[in-house]
């Protein structure tokens, strides 16, 4: 390349001006295109979000109406009540248990899927996607039938001499239902991240005399971390706020956060408490998202 001549620079200037005007026009067009969706989400997501926060600072009068004459932290204080606290801890514990079970079961599955030939991989992927698309309520109901008093499970247990195992309406049934419901959410991100790992890295670690455990611990595990975190968030958040599964499979003694929140708006009419619990859920969700994206930026 030689130095540009004057005649080559001149049209450059004119087109820069044109370019600027074009960019401004493009920007306006882009905004116009985004506006309906943007507006909709502000109206039906951001405004409701603000309303939940406002209600969580309200108080409930004798008639169950929410009052706002003073901003109050009452509802948040009541989160420490023994009943509410128990429900919070139970929900957290069951959500963590569900996430851990899903992770332990899904990890070898996802690894195996990444090692089989392409056509098997596609078949496995489809077979994981089908439950993911299948109606959630129906999938929970199927377990209700199976675990029921005269259902197939009790037939089997009495056949092998275990007698009647009463699983339905316990927290174990809820965990079972949530694992069943959310397992695809763990498998898919795990598979996506394990599949991207270069196999030579694992081979190299073996060549350098790493034991299988060491090469798992120091190569595979750190490299698949985005999938582990992504999948865990995708399982943990819906488990924590689960409503349908505990209502169908859980018992009256094992109320979880989801049902308790809904009850504040339907039966108990304690909107500030229900709102405060929703805010807690939102904060946990935001916190996990921040963790996820921070991990993401560290990696890239």
């Amino acid at each position: 390349m030689t130095a540009p001549t004057v005649t080559q620079v001149q049209p450059q200037v004119a087109s820069a001006d044109l370019e600027a005007r074009r960019t401004a026009k493009e920007r306006r067009f882009g905004l116009l295109l985004a506006l309906p969706g943007y507006g909709y989400l502000i109206m039906l997501f951001v405004v409701p979000l603000v309303m939940v926060s406002v209600y969580s600072f309200g108080t409930r009068d004798r008639f169950g109406q929410t009052q706002f004459d003073r901003l109050s932290l009452d509802a948040y204080g009541r989160l420490a009540d023994p009943i509410v606290r128990d429900i919070l801890f139970r929900s957290l514990w069951l959500a963590i248990l569900t996430t851990v079970i899903c992770l332990v079961v899904a990890y070898p599955f996802a690894y195996f899927m990444a090692t089989v030939p392409q056509q098997w991989r596609n078949l496995m992927l489809v077979l994981v996607m089908i439950p993911f698309w299948t109606n959630f309520l129906v999938r929970n109901y199927a377990w209700r039938v199976i675990l029921g008093t005269d259902g197939p499970l009790s037939d089997i247990t009495s056949l092998v001499g275990l007698g009647d195992i009463r699983l339905l309406f316990t927290q174990w049934a809820v965990v079972l239902g949530m694992v069943y419901g959310f397992l695809p959410f763990m498998i898919l991100p795990l598979y996506a991240s394990i599949d991207r790992i270069d196999g030579r890295l694992l081979e190299a670690s073996r060549d350098l005399y790493a034991t299988p455990w060491q090469s798992f611990r120091h190569v595979l595990l750190p490299l698949s971390m985005p999938g582990i975190i992504g999948g865990s968030i995708l399982v943990f958040i819906p488990s924590l706020g689960a409503y349908v599964t505990p209502e169908i499979l859980g018992g009256a003694k094992t109320t979880l956060m989801g049902s308790y929140i809904v009850n504040q708006f339907q039966g108990a009419r304690d909107w500030p408490l229900g709102s405060a619990l929703s805010v807690v859920l939102i904060l946990i969700m935001l916190l996990s998202t921040v963790i996820y994206f921070r991990k993401d930026t560290v990696r890239t």
Partner: protein, 275 residues
């Protein structure tokens, strides 16, 4: 890129056993449910000979049929609106820069990760004030508005995945060859997006038919969708009728999966143009 090392010997057997157990776990409950829907026993979980009786009962059950109709109506409207809004948003976010783009981008993801229960409470509070302001009554309108609120993001994410994998120089090339903005959109961008639009639409339809808790909290008297109706029935106890209704819902889901897989397969074939 090099494949991951394949496990051998006993470890491989353990991996295979894990896969088999997971698939049995996934599919046996569904198969049993289908089986029991043809069982003559009054007990929902017991085999008592073959019958079509529960499907006949379903066909004659006014409330369930009304709920099914309502569900399809809500899902159709919610899908149509969210496909249009979601596609426009995806195009704007993927192909244009504008003020507030980053905020919009982040906002788009939130409805996907907010738990259903929270979304339900948010919308319940919103409609408790807004129904008077907007002059709408609780029922079809509020359910559809709520479903659109969580479906726009779904459609947008799916369409964006499709657009993001494509090369925007294709549109530039079309413009260089004197295509108008509209022509470039109509003949280049739209065909690229189409599998994403259809896939996102199918997903939005599925999610609308899946929803229980949001619908239950924003609905009004006299309006119920099939999942909410069935949920109510289940809470009163399992019956063979619910088995039959569930299997019908299952068939609906399967139909949507097959369509979605077909779309992704077809879009896989033309993907050589958009790598």
């Amino acid at each position: 890129m090099s494949r991951l090392p394949v496990t051998r010997g006993r470890a491989r057997l353990a991996f295979q056993a894990n896969v088999v157990v997971i698939f049995v776990f996934f599919y046996v409950p569904i198969v049993l449910l289908v089986l029991f829907s043809f069982s003559a026993s009054r007990n929902a979980g017991e085999w008592g000979g073959f019958t079509f009786a529960w499907y006949e009962e379903f066909a004659g059950d006014r409330a369930t049929k009304d709920a099914l109709q309502a569900s399809l109506k809500v899902a159709a409207v919610a899908t149509a609106v969210s496909v249009v809004l979601g596609t426009m948003s995806a195009l704007a976010l993927e192909r244009f820069r504008f003020h507030g783009r980053r905020v919009f981008d982040a906002l788009m993801y939130l409805p996907l990760i907010v738990p259903d229960v929270t979304m339900a409470i948010m919308l319940l509070l919103f409609f408790s004030e807004a129904t008077e302001l907007l002059g709408i009554s609780r029922g079809f309108g509020t359910i559809a508005l709520a479903h659109i609120a969580f479906s726009i993001s779904t459609v947008s994410v799916v369409v964006r995945a499709r657009l993001g994998g494509s090369d925007d120089r294709l549109e530039e090339a079309a413009r260089d060859l004197y295509a108008s903005r509209w022509q470039a959109f109509r003949h280049v961008t739209l065909p690229i997006m189409m599998p994403g639009i259809i896939g996102g639409g199918l997903l939005a339809f599925t999610i609308s038919l899946d929803d229980v808790v949001v619908t239950q909290l924003v609905t009004g008297p006299g309006w119920t969708t099939l999942p909410v109706h069935v949920f109510g029935l289940i809470r009163r106890g399992v019956t063979p009728l619910i088995n039959a209704v569930s299997v019908v819902m299952l068939l609906g889901s399967m139909l949507l999966v097959v369509l979605a897989l077909l779309v992704s397969r077809l879009s896989g074939q033309d993907s050589k143009y958009i790598h």
